[in-house]
């Protein structure tokens, strides 16, 4: 498919999506906002996790910083929403730079655990800050109507996806992929791995933060537990891993699917929904560790046996 044709298709899809608030019932619009925010988050994780190969749990921190930046700017300093978003994004980028440098030197599991630790630290620090409302959090001003949020979320999801598409065909993106595939070889081939990793981390931070800011303003509330929720990061990972890491559209598929499943579950009692979610994760990892696209590809070849093979490859 040539580029102009692809561009036209994208434009049509986007136009259709943008028209949703005027034609669909409120509940669909709300689902749309959630799903689009998830798409953004999935794509932002895709940059550091899917393309660079660094399993980060720190996107929860960026999301939280984005939300809190927005909230503090609007509630404590009475700044407009745009300023709040900018502040949130700036906080996240600076955090990614300063803490990314030391933490990205760590391998695999240590990097993951370090980022988990960062989430814990930030949650604890923020819950002690009065300006951020401590444990009670902050209540943001109310903006009536979902249309603005929907269009904003759509624009952000589009921007993030386009960025990932750019990465996929750029020299920078190639560098990230090389780092993911074999970091030592990438080094001796002339790739400045530190620069690449930190830049990827910072890009990832910007988008997660903007998503956090939009979400905070939309639900008019933020508190430490919700803002820095590790479960959200895990959902990002699941969306990307099952949609197809290191691809442009995989995370979109993963995000929409997971949002849909969450919606269906949300109707039920929270505890059961929670347990179901945990159960789904466990079963999915056991039978589909390489994701949906991988399973679909192999199902065509060997049928149900692909699940058996997955288990056999990774069992004791």
């Amino acid at each position: 498919m040539t580029l102009p044709v692809r561009a036209v298709i994208v434009a049509i899809v986007v136009a259709l999506l943008a028209a949703v608030p005027s034609i669909a019932p409120a509940i669909i619009v709300q689902f749309g906002i959630s799903a689009l925010i998830m798409v953004t988050l999935a794509q932002s994780w895709n940059i550091i996790g899917g393309y660079t190969g660094y399993t980060a749990f720190g996107n929860s921190v960026f999301y939280g910083l984005g939300g809190y930046g927005t909230a503090v700017a609007m509630v404590q300093f009475h700044l407009p929403f745009a300023a709040g978003l900018a502040l949130g994004a700036a906080l996240a980028v600076v955090f990614a730079l300063l803490l990314g440098l030391p933490v990205l030197r760590l391998r695999g599991q240590y990097f993951a655990i370090a980022t988990l630790g960062l989430v814990g630290v930030m949650t604890a620090i923020v819950s002690n800050l009065d300006i951020a409302g401590s444990n009670s959090g902050l209540v943001l001003p109310l903006l009536k109507g979902d249309t603005l949020f929907y269009e904003l979320a759509l624009a952000l999801a589009l921007l993030t996806t386009l960025t990932v598409a750019w990465i996929a065909r750029s020299r920078f993106g190639f560098g990230l992929i090389a780092i993911r595939e074999n970091e030592e070889a990438a080094e001796v081939m002339g790739i400045d791995t530190t620069l690449h990793k930190v830049l990827a981390f910072m890009l990832s931070a910007v988008f997660s933060a903007l998503a956090g800011g939009i979400h905070a303003y939309w639900i008019t509330y933020i508190d430490p537990a919700g803002a820095f929720d590790v479960t959200l990061n895990v959902k990002m990972i699941i969306m990307v891993v099952f949609g197809g890491p290191g691809t442009v559209l995989g995370p979109v598929v993963g995000a929409v699917l997971l949002s849909a499943i969450s919606e269906i579950l949300a109707v039920n009692v929270t505890s059961f929904a929670g347990m179901f979610f945990g159960l789904v994760v466990v079963i999915a990892i056991v039978f589909m560790p390489r994701g949906l696209t991988d399973v679909m590809r192999r199902f065509r070849e060997v049928g149900w046996r692909c699940f058996q093979e997955n288990v056999r490859t990774y069992r004791v």
Binding site: R171, F174, G175, I177, E187, V188, M189
Partner: protein
Amino acid sequence: MAAILEVRNLTKRFQGLVAVNHLDFGLERGEILGLIGPNGSGKTTVINMISGTLEPSAGSVFFNGAPIDRLPAFRRARLGIGRTFQIMKPFPGLNVCDNVAVGALFGKAAGHQNLGAARVDAQHWLEFVELGGRADQRADALGGPDRKRLELARALAMRPELLLLDEVMSGLNPVEMEQVIGVIRRVRELGISILVIEHVMKIIRSLSDRLLVLRHGEKIAEGRPEAVLNDPQVVTAYLGRKRA
């Protein structure tokens, strides 16, 4: 002729073990220097210190007259030092052509900012190492000899001035070895200086302009192949006590 590489007093210690001990040598521009020695004599460690994968405990490395031992590996690569690995390190998820394209994008060539141009360049280097037909295959689907060619093509795509080859022949049968020797000779014809580590005596003897022999991290002989290989110390190092 100017020396493209000069190594002075190069030393590497690993927690009580001295892997490389006060090594001095030079590589002239356009020459092929063979680095040989029994197992464990420190050959790969020397290469690691030249490419930047390891930091020396003491001593210095000069490339085109300038000291490089404080530079990170990627900077050395951009200056024009390319290497292959003994335990190969392909990019498994990428296809063969893209593996080589990475070298074209980031090596000394780095005029390539464009994926398309890099891929064209990659194809050229694949043909050079006689791997052109496999451009679209996944790198981890290749067999042993083809992986070696891939390593070589990747390093060449960086347009190095100095190429470090670490045991590029291991695991090849005699026919395949002859083919790789041919490729290496063609690489030299491009004007690239080469430092080769190799075990197979016949190969290294015919390929190298000069030989450097290491034992326990120290140089025990250096010079033209005929002279070095008849040196009694070298014979003892490889065969044990000299037969009376």
